[in-house]
Structures are given as structure tokens and as C-alpha cells.
């Protein structure tokens, strides 16, 4: 049997899902959209599977999250629904419950955070609530793992007995008449389409276009429907959508007035208000935010992440050396030796070195998200991002992009709308990642030793400007539609659950490792192959003869208008696809010098202007394979991903071209 887990955002849905399934989860994607679909087997019940639906507030047909939820509930036909309701803001949460009830499926309500309500002196009369709503209501505390067994038992029992909601009629007066007239009108159509009758009727009265189209009413029936609705609107002095929302909230208000004793003021809320007094303070909010982000960056890239990366690198080197000695002792063919050591080990090693950074960054990100601070960042930063058609929610992922594009792209998963997710993924690589710093460092040392800092700052600013410009262009072209309204809940601050954080880290690490050993691994092997062999598939003794160098020579004319037609430059740029740090080491190899002597040697290939142009191109062009595969993983489209990679290279070329040509005229 299959359960759908549905509920609002921030109501503890993920925590409950983790409690229901343990680590027994499968993360996938709903077809055609970037919306996560997680499913898992319920603990101790191998026959029962639960699908975690996106967090939504209503079954409206607007955002992809809502559409996906509706489609799943209507078309995939789960056997039962587990609706999680946050008892601390029960009014708004029940609004979704009332729409779920209309689907007329076996359903249980999991009343979460009951421990908080009780601790603050509030009570909810469960038995009465159960009678009024006509479905089992189980009080739980997902974070404390309380009531979960009872919930599972109730859910399974409800499905086994095929126990349908006892009540779906919550309205009175004009709305009642309109819905009932509509029920009769559409009964046959809904039956034919397999739509739950009551749900279809309510949605049609509400003015829900997709359901109305699906019902295929005759013109006569449509007229009658319009007549019903007009009469209701007239009597209610409200339009259809407002009248339906009002009907639901009026019922909920009455219900809560009778059976919910709210605590006067909960200590969690008081605490939130106090924390907010500081974290969203008029003058302190932004400095505090920057301080938090700087601390996260510092810990990730300088302390914890760096330590783990070094440890990992040392381990890989040690292993690689041991294997290398063994292979040599065995007298293995030198090509196979090179394949294993230079291809597999260094390829896998370079990819694995990302893992500590990703895991550590995600650890902090999930703390920010689960504690409720991310919503505050969105609140504080919204005004800045609005002009390029995004909301404050995109700020943190884009900021993470300055560290590494991979976790930044993966972090977009928490954005509330698909449109924002896609757009943020497109813009994030323009934030100059930390792996590009060695290139900037080398070139500024060689050409602008007096202005190193200034040049680097200019590059970062240029990246941001291009992102802003691209945002404007995207907003008016591909994403010209209305952005999803920024109407966002600011949940109370909460302690993140260790289990949720750990599961998320495991999930991200696993996800990245899977891709590391597929796409990225193959890509690095191809680069190794091209570096190792010449046109006749003989092993090269001089790197200038390799296939890669041939390709570099082939494409180098493309870069002539940018001021660097030398094949060594184009070859270095190609190896930069494996990891940006590789650009410098490739230069050293191809120029036949050490890294220390490279600043001098670079003068043979670049003028100061073309060096500048090269930096501009490096800043913008296609990110590394790891980032590309992260983009592919999130967008789930090979074509779009390839399109993005080409788009970025194209933009890089155009801007570098303009830069060089205008620079030549001026100098």
C-alpha cells in the first residue's frame, strides 16, 4: 500500500518522513520538473510505502509543487493520505487538510508539535476534532519520535478498512447551495474522468481552470455553473475564490474556537521574537548575516573542510604511491600504469577532494535552513534580488557559489519555486568560485604585481555584474512569466534535528559520489586519454604532441581575436574543465617550467591586456565537470545542461572579445 505524506512547509514533514522510514529512503524526481520526490518503506511494515510530497499550503494549480502534489494525489492514486498538521499554527494548516478531505481517500491527520502546545499550557480536544473532521487524528511529536507508532498503526488500519472521511461538507448558506448544485451538474463528468466529485465541484466553483477543462462541460452546463457561481458571489458579496477561502477559514475558526485552547503566548514564539529582534534588526541584520556567512566560509574552506580535504588528499596520495610501486614492481605495461595512476587515481582524487567541502558546507546550510534562519535571510535580502526577478531565497545559494558551485547548485533544492530554482542554477556559476583563485593569483603575480587585490576584486565584481545582467535578460526572455509571489511564512526558530541533518548530508554525499564515479569519472578519463596519446595512439613523450594539444591547436584560432592564439592557452582552458586548478598545472607542463617560474614564462604568451582578457574569459566560461554534472543532476535534462555550458562559453567569448578589442583601441 502507498501513502502520500502531505502538509505545509515548516510543519516538520521531513522530520516525520525520516521517522517513518529511517534511512530507508529513495530520492528521485517528479517527471519533467525539478521537484524532489522522496519515497521510503515504513519501518517494520515492508508492505507500506510512503511518498513525501512537496510542502504546500493549498491544492491550487499554480506552482509546480502544487501541480505535482495534485497530479500525484489524483493520478497516482495512493491508497491513503497522511496529512501532517502543525498544532502550533493549526488554523492555517487545516486549510490544506480540508482540501485533502475532499479527495475522499482514507486519511489520517498527524497533529505534530503537540509537545510544544502542551508545554505552553495549550490543549487540543483530539476526540472532538476527530469527530468533527471525520478522520483519525493522532497527536505526535516528530522531532521527539513520540506517537509515530500510533500514527503508523492508525494509517495502516484506515487503509485496510478502507475507512473514508466521514465528512466532506463544511459549508453553509450560499456556498453550500452553489457547491451542491455544481455536484449534481458535474457528477457524470467527474465520474468519467475519475475525479473525486466533491473535490472537482469545489475547485470548479473556485474557478480552477485545469479541473474545469478536464471535466469537458457542455456550453449549457457551463452557463448553469456560471449562474450558480454568480448567485453565490452576489449573496456572499465576495468573488468565488475569496468566498471559498472564506468558507474554509470560517469553518476552521469555529472548530478551533471550540476545541483548541491556545496558549496565551508560547515560549517558542517569544524566543523567536527575541532572536528576530537581533537577526532582522534594522541596522544589525545585514552585518550579522555577513558575519555568519564569513564564519561558514572560513570554517569550510580554512578549518574543517581544508583539514578533511588535506587528510583525504594525503590518503589518496599514499594509496596511489603504494599502488604505483606495486604496479612497477609487477612490471606492468607503462600505459596501464599511467591509466591507473594518472587517470583513475588523480581523476577520482580530484573529484573526491570536493567531498569534504560539500559535506561541511551542507552541514552549515542545513543548520541555517532547519533552524528557520534561511527564511529570515530571504526576508532581509529580498529587496536586492527582486529586480532581477528572483526572491531573497536565492541569496544564500548564490553566495555559496563564491566558495564552490557544486554545493551552491545543490542548495537550490530548498528554493520554494521551480522557476527560482532554475534561474538561480543558471546564475550561480557566474559567482567566481574559489578554485579560480589560483589562476587569478598566478596571472596577477605575473602581470599586475602592484594591483593584485584590485584586479581580483574587479573580476569578482564583473562576475556579479554579468549575473545581474543575465538575470535581467532571463527575466525578460526564458523566464518572462510572472514570478511566484513572494508570500512566505517566517516559522519559529527551532533546534535542527540531528537525524535530519545527518540524513541530508548522507544524501548529498551519496548523490555526489554517484555522479563522481559516473559522469565526472568518465570525463576525467577522456581528458587523461587525450593527454596521454598522440594521433596514432602512441604514448606521447612530449606533451606538445598529445591529442589534447592537437585539439588545443585546432581550437586556438577561436581565441585569436581575444589576444591569445597560442595552442597552450586553449589546451590549458580545456583541462580547466576537470577542475579549474588544472589550468595552472597544465601551463607549467606545456611551457616546460616549474610553477614557481611560471609567472616569468607566461610573458612569452600573454601581453598585460591579453592576460586581463584571459582572466575575464576564465571567470565566465563553462564551470568544471563537477559543477556541470550538478547542474544536470538538478535540472534533469542533458540538453538544457549542454545548452547552459555553451551559453556560458559563448558569453565568456563575447565579453572577452569586447574587452580585448576595446582595450586595444584605448591602449
Amino acid at each position: 500500500m502507498i501513502f502520500a505524506l502531505a502538509g505545509n512547509q515548516n510543519c516538520g514533514k521531513t522530520t516525520l518522513f525520516n521517522q517513518l522510514t529511517g534511512s530507508n529512503q529513495h530520492v528521485g524526481n517528479f517527471p519533467g520538473v525539478t521537484v524532489d520526490s522522496k519515497s521510503g518503506v515504513i519501518r517494520n511494515h515492508r508492505e507500506a510505502k510512503v511518498v513525501d510530497l512537496p510542502g504546500i499550503y493549498s491544492l491550487s494549480p499554480y506552482t509546480s509543487e502544487e501541480i505535482v502534489t495534485r497530479d500525484f494525489l489524483l493520478k497516482q492514486n495512493p491508497d491513503g493520505i497522511i496529512n501532517i498538521v502543525d498544532a502550533t499554527s493549526i488554523e492555517r494548516n487545516l486549510y490544506l487538510s480540508m482540501q485533502l478531505l475532499e479527495l475522499h481517500k482514507p486519511m489520517v491527520i498527524a497533529l505534530n508539535m503537540m509537545d510544544e502546545v502542551r508545554a505552553n499550557g495549550g490543549t487540543i480536544k483530539i476526540k472532538e476534532l476527530m469527530e468533527e473532521l471525520g478522520v483519525p487524528v493522532v497527536p505526535i511529536s516528530a522531532s521527539k519520535n513520540e506517537g509515530i507508532d500510533e500514527l503508523i498503526e492508525a494509517a495502516i488500519r484506515t487503509v485496510k478498512n478502507h475507512q473514508l472521511p466521514k465528512r466532506i461538507d463544511f459549508c453553509s448558506g450560499a456556498v453550500h447551495r452553489a457547491i451542491h448544485a455544481t455536484v449534481h451538474l458535474i457528477e457524470d463528468h467527474a465520474g468519467r474522468e475519475g475525479l473525486p466529485l466533491r473535490f472537482a465541484a469545489t475547485k470548479v466553483v473556485e474557478g480552477d481552470a485545469p479541473i474545469l477543462n478536464q471535466l469537458k462541460l457542455s456550453d449549457n452546463e457551463k452557463d448553469m455553473l456560471d449562474h450558480n457561481v454568480t448567485e453565490m458571489e452576489h449573496e456572499m458579496q465576495m468573488d468565488r475564490k475569496a468566498a471559498m477561502a472564506d468558507m474554509r477559514y470560517t469553518f476552521i475558526e469555529k472548530l478551533c474556537a471550540q476545541y483548541v485552547v491556545k496558549p496565551k503566548e508560547s515560549k517558542e514564539h517569544l524566543r523567536s521574537v527575541k532572536i528576530d529582534a537581533l537577526l532582522t534588526h534594522k541596522y544589525l541584520a545585514i552585518p550579522i548575516f555577513l558575519l555568519i556567512m564569513l564564519t561558514i566560509f572560513w570554517l569550510t574552506f580554512s578549518v574543517v573542510g581544508a583539514f578533511l580535504s588535506d587528510l583525504l588528499a594525503a590518503g589518496i596520495t599514499a594509496l596511489s604511491d603504494t599502488v604505483s610501486i606495486q604496479l612497477t614492481a609487477y612490471g606492468i605495461n607503462p600505459v596501464v600504469h599511467s591509466l591507473i595512476i594518472d587517470g583513475v587515481f588523480s581523476g577520482v582524487g580530484s573529484v573526491l577532494s570536493f567531498i569534504p567541502t560539500i559535506v561541511v558546507l551542507f552541514f552549515f546550510l542545513s543548520l541555517l535552513e532547519d533552524s528557520g534562519y534561511m527564511a529570515r535571510v530571504a526576508f532581509v535580502m529580498d529587496k536586492l534580488l527582486r529586480k532581477i526577478g528572483l526572491s531573497g531565497r536565492s541569496f544564500v545559494p548564490m553566495l555559496i557559489g563564491f566558495g564552490c558551485s557544486v554545493p551552491a547548485i545543490l542548495a537550490t533544492r530548498t528554493l520554494a519555486s521551480e522557476r527560482d530554482r532554475k534561474m538561480t542554477i543558471l546564475l550561480t556559476p557566474f559567482m567566481s568560485c574559489s578554485a579560480k583563485l589560483p589562476i587569478y593569483g598566478m596571472f596577477t603575480m605575473a602581470f599586475f604585481p602592484k594591483y593584485r587585490g584590485l584586479v581580483m576584486i574587479a573580476l569578482y565584481v564583473l562576475g556579479m555584474l554579468i549575473a545581474i545582467l543575465s538575470g535581467f535578460i532571463l527575466k525578460n526572455t526564458i523566464f518572462h512569466g510572472k514570478p511566484v509571489p513572494f508570500v512566505m511564512e517566517l516559522p519559529n526558530y527551532r533546534m535542527p534535528s540531528a537525524k535530519s541533518v545527518m540524513l541530508l548530508l548522507w544524501d548529498k554525499a551519496k548523490d555526489f559520489l554517484t555522479r563522481a564515479f559516473t559522469i565526472i569519472f568518465i570525463a576525467t578519463l577522456i581528458i587523461w586519454f587525450l593527454q596521454t596519446f598522440d594521433m596514432r595512439f602512441n604514448v606521447v613523450s612530449n606533451s606538445a604532441d598529445s591529442l589534447l594539444a592537437q585539439i588545443g591547436k585546432l581550437v586556438s584560432p577561436i581565441f585569436a581575436p581575444l589576444g591569445f592564439a597560442d595552442w597552450r592557452v586553449s589546451t590549458a582552458l580545456i583541462t580547466g574543465l576537470t577542475a579549474k586548478e588544472a589550468v595552472i598545472s597544465t601551463f607549467a607542463v606545456l611551457m616546460g617550467t616549474s610553477t614557481a617560474a611560471l609567472p616569468q614564462a607566461l610573458h612569452a604568451v600573454f601581453t598585460p591586456l591579453s592576460a586581463w582578457t584571459f582572466l575575464v574569459f576564465t571567470l565566465i566560461y563553462t564551470p568544471c565537470f563537477a559543477a556541470i554534472s550538478a547542474i544536470k543532476g538538478e535540472l534533469r535534462s542533458f540538453k538544457t545542461t549542454l545548452g547552459i555550458a555553451f551559453y556560458q562559453s559563448f558569453i565568456a567569448w563575447v565579453i572577452a572579445f569586447l574587452f580585448y578589442q576595446i582595450g586595444s583601441l584605448l591602449l
Binding site: 499554527s89 492555517r92 528576530d276 532581509v380 529587496k383 509571489p485 508570500v487 512566505m488
Partner: protein, 80 residues
Amino acid sequence: MGWMKMTLDQIKIGESAKITAVFGEEELRCRLLDMGLTPRTEVMVRKAAPMGDPIELRLRGYELTLRLEDARNIEVEEHA
């Protein structure tokens, strides 16, 4: 003095008002209503973001944030 009609973006920080009507483009309006900003609902404007926009509201026992331009679609009356 009776009631004064205005829109939600005009309410001063710390003050409360009662919603009388919700306007706006379809999707936004649907969203506002779904989040509980229905006629007759009491709303308190808790604070504004550091850059003056968006604003934070308290209604139905929870906190909601929305932009001033969107708040302009919500007609309210204030105890005058």
C-alpha cells in the same frame, strides 16, 4: 470616528488592521487568500525588513512576510 479604509502597506509598524477585501492578479490573490488573508481577518504589521521592504505580518497565530507592492492589493480598515 469610524473606520478608515486604506491598504495594508499603509499600516504603521506595530499596528493592527482588519482585512476588508483582497485584490490583485490571479495567482498572487489566490496565494494571499490561501495563506489566510481573507476578509475579516485581523492582521498585525510586526516589522519591516532592513531595507524597508518586505514587511512581516502576524495573523492566525503565525508570521508571514510579503512585499509592499503586493500588500497594496489588500484593502483594510483600521480603528481610527
